[in-house]
Symmetry: C2
Subunit: 333 residues, 2 copies
Amino acid sequence: MRSIIKTVIVATGLIASQVASALPRNEPVSPITPPEEIHIGKAELGKKLFFDPRLSKSGFISCNSCHNLSMGGSDNLKTSIGHNWQQGPINSPTVLNSSLSIAQFWDGRASDLQEQAGGPIANPGEMASNHVLAIDVLQSIPQYVREFNQVFGVTEITIEHVTDAIAEFERTLVTPNSPFDQWLMGDDSAISDYELAGYRLFVESGCVACHNGSALGGTSFQKMGLLEPYQTENPVEGRIAVTGKDADRFMFKVPTLRNVELTYPYFHDGEAQTLTEAVDIMGRLQLGRKFTDDENAKIVAFLLTLTGDQPSFDLPTLPPSNADTPVPQPFDD
Amino acid sequence: MRSIIKTVIVATGLIASQVASALPRNEPVSPITPPEEIHIGKAELGKKLFFDPRLSKSGFISCNSCHNLSMGGSDNLKTSIGHNWQQGPINSPTVLNSSLSIAQFWDGRASDLQEQAGGPIANPGEMASNHVLAIDVLQSIPQYVREFNQVFGVTEITIEHVTDAIAEFERTLVTPNSPFDQWLMGDDSAISDYELAGYRLFVESGCVACHNGSALGGTSFQKMGLLEPYQTENPVEGRIAVTGKDADRFMFKVPTLRNVELTYPYFHDGEAQTLTEAVDIMGRLQLGRKFTDDENAKIVAFLLTLTGDQPSFDLPTLPPSNADTPVPQPFDD
């Protein structure tokens, strides 16, 4: 419980400074606000599940494998590694501040975090388990059964309980107090003039048309390659996979820019390794604008002010398996 | 620093109870004692390195992948998963209390934790990097360079600094305060009569001849299959690989029984899934004794009293890569 309480204290600190200073500046970007009404027991249970590789067939891959909370909530790979070292089709989006998005996955095929959480567990290319097996594993472990009972008042665990708990934990993974947020809350000294110039350029050149709101992204789907086609060998076509509409080809959810310093490489295919490269490509393809080296550097300097307080909690200790627990099958394919 | 300080406080608590009660009982098993003279900065740096998958070629596998501190310092798989999903030859031994062993690895081929730590990084079947590449990665990251400078007073990182820091962190990973240790320190109520009967049987039947000392193991090499050959399809032959002596065929370092509840499956090949099975096999092969179901259950009950305080610290936040950092290569084989 302590670690969640710590998160709440951080959040309270944010509220206090909000009260003490002026209201947030009137900008198209707003500060991260703390999550409201977190169910502490559910989030603590969800944290264990997030770190538990027994939700995968191999017993080796957990949510944290590809959304590593030591590394900005991502895996820092172009595309992810799944069961049996399969190469994933797409770049792992950060789980940090993901609760602020209108939908989940790059193509928005899950409406919320709970719906998202069930996907990778049963995806043959990711954790390669299935919901029946995952529940069998959890139901065999008395400590989990007791904790689900405490949180949900049930003796039979369902996948909905599992994904509800994981989603509740993920709602705690917001990153307040970035230098830019401190500036937004009225602290003129929180960012440099150079970084501020980068922000002004980010707004005036039109980046903010898509990267807006408290997450600087996650508020809309947009076409990758708007004014000029995006060249990639990655076959993923975005939101058309969900809607079937031709107009949604190459439409992707706009990624958050929060903690973008930590969530490299960039784009849905992970092909941009640096922010300099990503800013250049975005300027040309989405805005029809070739940023000068100085403009690019200013925008990158601004982007680096978006790194907030990273999640801070004790590494969870997982309850052990026993003779009734299905044994992981890493090598039987 | 806070998390290490927490460890020290736990250790101090142990010393206090030691002073307050009688001396430890005179038994062939002794309580876990806290590590002495930990270099806090070095251990904190080592913790980051322990969790950093960039020490692997893929950027996906860290020390913690196979010595998972959420799961008793092991991966709970028969044999481990390495780079490109290669099946490892041997069961991953727990890192918990590994500082108490006479040598490292099942065959003792590393004399200490520092020597051990360099092995998996460069093993093509494990992390599949090499020491030059691993250093290039770390040297490219200013936050790491600064931290190595603070700890070691150098500007050029070497593999010896890396393994020294990891080993220092690993020396903090002791697990005091198990119920059995509380009993050893004089608390008669810490374990039940049934568990105590299991311990007495463990001593009288001869288990303790090998599983002794504060780690209940790690003090000697012994032949697996002493009175009766051990049947396994695993080709590993143990200490002969180090000494070349025929007498060392099937000689393995006796594993610690500390936290054995958490470090399943058992034996160097991971073929015993439960403690019941492991105790039965050990009794027959090493002691020439067929434990009755009741005897077996009593010994297992005792073994479950060996679970101590698990490592407790904040999940580390890793410094990000940058344009100068070599990019992980998960899929180029």
